[in-house]
Symmetry: C2
Subunit: 188 residues, 2 copies
């Protein structure tokens, strides 16, 4: 007990999402997650504060990846091109192996107002970080906040589409299409 | 006590915002708001559930006004033009007489994570309502959600600018400029 377990975090994550899908988020206990993962609750708490954190522990990494990609985009990139680079970078987290987890996660969050509020707050924080990073590139306001806000709109729409039931296209393809649609509708 | 008072809601709102500015949101009690308004706490609770509602009771009306304006925009309007009509309609709530209240409200919300989370959730709900109203006009996805999301980005940026310390331009002027900037940056 408490000893190092190979990919314990990944096993807890997989076990939690299975249980959320099978018996519901509210009904799932940390004890049940640990039992399903073949680990102990004590080990669970070395990786996560609570079951909610299983759903949100990727968001810090997502934000860091996007901010870094934005900062490293070629200096001649426009604000929206830099945001597009950040959105594409996020695709490294959203490959096909991850899609089943992301689908269940989305269903669980949509059904729980507290989780939805947290998800929305994370998106607002992400938008703020992207705007800050754009200003560091020399983009002025209101352009920085507008590009960040529009980018988050593209991200939310694309992500929701990527996890939708019958969708087969990659996250990256969907982001490109959403960016093209945004350009089109702002010109009509 | 409990009898009808002319513009009691307005008096409570003015009293609350004065106290929030003077002694802080956390420190302000309903009793103090009522005393400042020259009314009773009992009367306060006929208009508001709690002090927090003083800050958010306008959001339902804002959403209804924007959704109605969107629905009534000329049928030949593009999705973004219909969203622009909704953003401009909201300006009826944001005239210069309202700016001091809106300024204090923004400062109070920015300083309180719970209030900020609620504000962000309201914006997400507003975005969802606008997307729904666009779909009712025949706008397809992802365009409806992208136009709504981009519109909310414009709204947040414009509103923040409108309440900023030294800003003198009207809400309407700022919205028009933000919409023009959005168009510009999505084409670069």
């Amino acid at each position: 007990m408490g000893r190092w377990e190979p990919d314990a975090a990944g096993r807890f994550r997989a076990a939690a999402i299975e249980l959320f899908a099978e018996i519901g988020y509210e009904q799932t206990t940390v004890a049940a997650i640990a039992a399903r993962a073949g680990l102990t609750a004590r080990t669970f708490f070395r990786y996560f504060t609570d079951k909610r954190e299983v759903l949100f522990d990727g968001s810090g990494r997502l934000q860091q990846m996007m901010v870094d990609a934005l900062a490293m985009a070629p200096v001649e990139h426009s604000a929206m091109d830099a945001v597009a680079a950040a959105l594409q970078k996020a695709g490294e987290l959203f490959d096909d192996a991850r899609r089943p987890f992301a689908r269940v996660r989305s269903v669980v969050i949509a059904a729980n107002p507290d989780l939805l509020e947290r998800e929305v707050a994370k998106m607002a924080a992400l938008s703020g970080s992207l705007a800050l990073s754009l200003r560091a590139r020399g983009v002025r306001e209101p352009d920085a906040s507008l590009a960040a806000g529009a980018g988050i709109a593209v991200f939310r729409v694309s992500f929701a589409q990527w996890v939708s039931e019958s969708e087969r296209r990659s996250y990256s393809e969907i982001v490109n299409e959403s960016l093209a649609r945004l350009k089109e509708i702002t010109n009509q």
